[in-house]
Amino acid sequence: MARDELTGSRAAPPQGNLFRRRSWQQLLPERIIKITLILCTSISILTTVGIVSVLLFEAVQFFGDVSIFKFLTGTKWTPLFTSQQFGVLALVAGTMLTAVGAMVVALPLGLLSAIYLSEYAPDPVRRTLKPVLEVLAGIPTVVYGYFALLFITPLLRGLSEDIAVFNALSASIVMGIMILPMVSSLSEDAMRSVPRSLREAAYALGSTKLEVSTRVVVPAALSGIMAAFILAASRAVGETMIVAIAAGQNPTFTLNPLVPIETMTAYIVQVSQGDTPNGTLEFRTIFAVALLLFAITLLMNLLSQYVVRRFQEEYE
């Protein structure tokens, strides 16, 4: 038959398996590597889960004793006094006051330096300036804290006697300087990703450099710039050392930046460093405050991601 002829003309098929079986000695290293990698990844995830559950666990116990409504709406915060009051708004006001103050400093300066770096600075200048600006982000915050207390505050008090030694203003200014590189660097990245063709289109219509920057580049990069702002604000809300050192430890429900206040973070430092006994109601307050702080910063980070996704322009 033809089939026999065909098969006969071929080389004989190999006997047994074509491929060597992989032995367990060969498979083992792969397994070990995979498991190690999974373990490493889980550490960070488990830590987050652990922190959140501890916060929740302690906070739930706290809210067993203190009404969550009174906690969120009260304006007097005196858990360490004999007449205990748990109005967290006094701390929230302190946090918002310093954070908003920091943003007032960082937004205009950050945006203007981003415009300069992205649109005006010649290449060599940008390549030198940007890393220098980013060095600001590497300064330990405790240094900023003492810079606020020992340098900015005396300056401010030289201007007006009414300013207290510990005040929100000084902390805000220094915190603004601290988050400035974040705002300018992220905004500059967003602005530089605006295609060159859009700038050319604007120039070809007779725009000056300023018009190109403010009417084309900034609007086109707005989603990235807004995300940078929100991230920086969230950083300011969570910042601890500067406000703990320079802003005071007086929970005050006020918008006056010249008097001592206390932020949520500074309060947590105060209690955890103090002699408040573990397991008491006073001690548990820091978990309730921390949970609220965590919720606020998480919300802001989510908002920033949403802004980027929602308002991102498809250029081409």
Binding site: A201, Y203, L205, R215, E314
Partner: protein, 257 residues
Amino acid sequence: MQVADPILQTKNLNVYYADKRVVTDVTLDIVRNRITAIIGPSGCGKSTLLRCFNRMNDLIPTARISGQVLFEGQDLYAPSVDPTEIRYQIGMVFQRPNPFPKSVFDNVAFGPRINGFKGNIDELVEQSLHRAALWDEVKDRLNSSALALSGGQQQRLCIARALAVQPRVILMDEPCSALDPIATLAIEELMRELSEEYSIVIVTHNMQQAARVSHFTAFLMADDTRIGHVVEYGESRQIFTNPQDERTEAYITGRFG
């Protein structure tokens, strides 16, 4: 080629990027209210030459020129001339459609607004879109994003945007190279209509396009040292049917480039 009353002229124009000369000794007269095509192989300096007419090369820090570029007899590179003023009078359309990420209306209104336009902006936008043969397609979506338009529509929007500042010259840098054949035909038809009122200079890779739409054609070529120069300039009919230079003939018959 001698031209009476040219709108644009170059005289012994050389263009340099840093120390490298990229275009040399170009002397051209651009005819008023006609379409002039600049053709030539890649890298011969067509776009560089075009960008001398509205000083877009100024945006490249290392670029400089020697020689003269004249618009209505005035030296565009004289120290007293503000390049933004030039660009009000000499508009430009680019290779890829580049509408701003704004509404259709705001795209067209952009130039007049920065220019301090005082008249009726709605009317001007409508008129510009009419001239760019886009009005009927976008009149119901003036406030929606320009990026939602098709590529061909975006390019006509860019033309409308250039027309809105009421220029006298329109420079087009391969305006159809990113478009499909139907959108290309629409743009070519539009160019013919616009040439009654505007002087148009178009850089194109596409020789059929140059032959179809242009009245005059300049053929540029780079020599062995990669420096572009004008090989031949004349009426398109003559360039494409009876070129005087054998290099032009070789190029238009597709032997190189």
